[in-house]
């Protein structure tokens, strides 16, 4: 099972976590990640950000990433929720929830999903700062994080 949503509205992480485990006695572990809008980035204060996406491709790319996680790990359920539109510091941006039988695959799949989402799913952030609006540059560290999964080292460790 998998749930993928792109939405402007906020999400309730607790409710999403409850959904993947309630009534399923095979679930022994739920790992969740919440990405949050910060008030500072690259040395500038950030008063708000606007998330743009590619409707259609975004959902398809997220589905491909979820499928890839399922090939790599035996997990029971995955939820990915990503917000778009205008967000302010302290607002939630993204949620990934993975339910599995054991924590190892739940943790690993959750981290993999975030690393791949950040480098593959077509979202773009534009920040408002005192110096004006600016598009956020992609980070080499995010590419490096995603590439770890291609070596197989991380997968073997999990």
């Amino acid at each position: 099972m998998a749930t993928i949503r792109v939405q402007t509205e906020d999400f309730d992480a607790g409710a999403e976590i409850a959904k993947v485990r309630t009534g399923n006695p095979k679930v022994g572990a739920v790992a969740a990640f919440v990405g949050v809008c910060r008030d500072r980035n690259d040395g500038e204060n950030v008063s708000s950000m606007t998330l743009e996406h590619y409707p259609g491709m975004t959902e398809r790319e997220l589905a491909r990433i979820v499928d890839e996680a399922r090939v790599r790990w035996d997990v029971i359920d995955i939820t990915v929720v990503h917000r778009v539109g205008r967000l302010a510091p302290t607002d939630q941006i993204v949620l990934v929830v993975v339910a599995g039988a054991h924590r190892g695959e739940a943790f690993a799949a959750c981290e993999f999903l975030m690393d791949y989402l950040k480098t593959r799913a077509p979202f773009w952030k534009k920040e408002e700062t005192p110096q004006g609006a600016r598009w956020v540059d992609a980070r080499a560290s995010d590419d490096a994080a995603a590439e770890r999964w291609m070596t197989g080292a991380k997968r073997d460790a999990a």
Binding site: E52, Y54, K118, A121, W124, K125, D142
Partner: protein
């Protein structure tokens, strides 16, 4: 005709979110389409210049420069992604 879409800073710099384009006969790949757009000059040549980090998707799937482009396709140009 192909549907060409532009996102994020490319959409802003080019002043358009997309267009319907009829392909010249010699434009059959992603790289050729990019070169065709660069040849318009101005913001097109600066924003899509080969040194710039521009990603391309064909029919909503990431595509390499040698990927084929044909009538009816949806081709999107955008910068490296920054979600999450």
């Amino acid at each position: 005709m192909v549907k060409v879409l532009y996102f994020a800073n490319l959409r802003e710099d080019l002043g358009t979110a997309g267009e319907e384009l009829s392909l010249p006969a010699d434009v059959t790949t992603v790289a050729a389409l990019r070169a065709h757009l660069i040849a318009r000059g101005g913001a097109w040549s600066s924003s899509l210049a080969l040194g710039k980090a521009v990603r391309v998707a064909v029919n909503q799937e990431m595509a390499r420069p040698d990927a084929p482009v044909k009538a009816g396709d949806e081709v999107a140009f955008f910068p490296p992604v920054t979600g999450g």
